[in-house]
Symmetry: C2
Subunit: 198 residues, 2 copies
């Protein structure tokens, strides 16, 4: 049987989403088909407004409804510290900790020659300009602890060395609630190197 | 941080989909946010058309673009055999096997007193009417091999006993490519009971 064309099209579009395969896309499409029109309209509107109402902050490239994002506009935050992250999702993750009260800078990725991501396609120049123009005192690098994240951290560190700014990187070690026995050697090694005196 | 409202709304709506939790919804929303407008429009259109263009076949309750579905309209299919399934997804699964050339009847669920699904909310009456009115010779029950599916099969079998129609149920046994060692006792037991002479 040919699957009815509108269903096939919906499955095709849904399966373009990350981690949604053909089977999941089919299940989602059939679920939507069985849902009330009201719910489907709400979903469609939400996706439309997501795309039309949200843009990227002109300063830090976090998502924003206005030209500058809520964080960049806030007077309660420390405007002398910038935390550098890869993606918008990292901003959300860090905000959920309530441990950081400075500003952010979203690079939009990490250096990755294999995926054709060079320094020019990241917001590194914009970071340097921000540091120079707004008297930033400290930069905290919070990139993912993998090869690309490390390379990018190193690259940014080298560039910022010439600028009068304190640079740090968030700690690596055992995750809270983790188990030493099941941690990998590299993580345990980093936890030893990064030990703090009590 | 308050997540920007349009993003929060999109996450809320996406997380209503089956097997999409908050984290997945956030990832999907951020992916959509980063996608080209073209792709997002294609997704939104596909979902809209899915809901507006597809309805349910007036005969078998499979999905259809027209009043009667492609299968019910086809002259190449055997109109004297009906395969009874729970959901539209089962029709797609069976069609993919190319082993069945009759018509379908989608019940829209199975009997489940706990979830408040009674015989009246399934398309059982419509099935009986079809059998009486269209000279159906054989009904094949292809419900899921679980407690609800078995109960529903039994219920339908009892009702159809009074009608001149052959009734069968698809076989249970070891799945192809499966391993006897890892099969559960109930499945192996059913495979013995359902053995066929060679």
């Amino acid at each position: 049987m040919l699957i009815a064309e509108p269903l096939q099209k919906a499955i095709d579009e849904l399966s373009k989403l990350p981690s949604v395969g053909r089977k999941t896309a089919q299940r989602l499409a059939l679920h939507i088909l069985k849902s009330d029109s009201e719910n489907v309209d709400a979903l469609i509107n939400a996706l439309g407004e997501l795309k039309s109402k949200i843009r990227f902050c002109s300063v830090c490239f976090n998502i924003s409804v206005e030209e500058k994002c809520e964080i960049c506009r806030s007077q309660k935050r420390d405007h002398s510290v910038i935390c550098v992250v890869e993606e918008v999702s990292d901003v959300i993750a860090i905000e959920n900790t309530n441990e950081f009260n400075g500003l952010y800078h979203v690079l939009g990725g990490v250096l990755n020659p294999l995926a054709n991501v060079s320094a020019d396609s990241l917001k590194i120049k914009e970071l340097v300009d921000r540091i120079d123009q707004h008297g930033i005192k400290e930069v905290i690098l919070a990139l993912n602890p993998d090869a690309e994240g490390d390379t990018t951290s190193l690259y940014i560190t080298r560039i910022l060395k010439e600028h009068a700014v304190k640079i740090s990187r968030i700690a690596r070690g055992l995750p809270i609630g983790g188990d030493l026995e099941f941690a990998d050697a590299a993580t345990i090694g980093r936890a030893f190197i990064g030990r703090i005196s009590l």
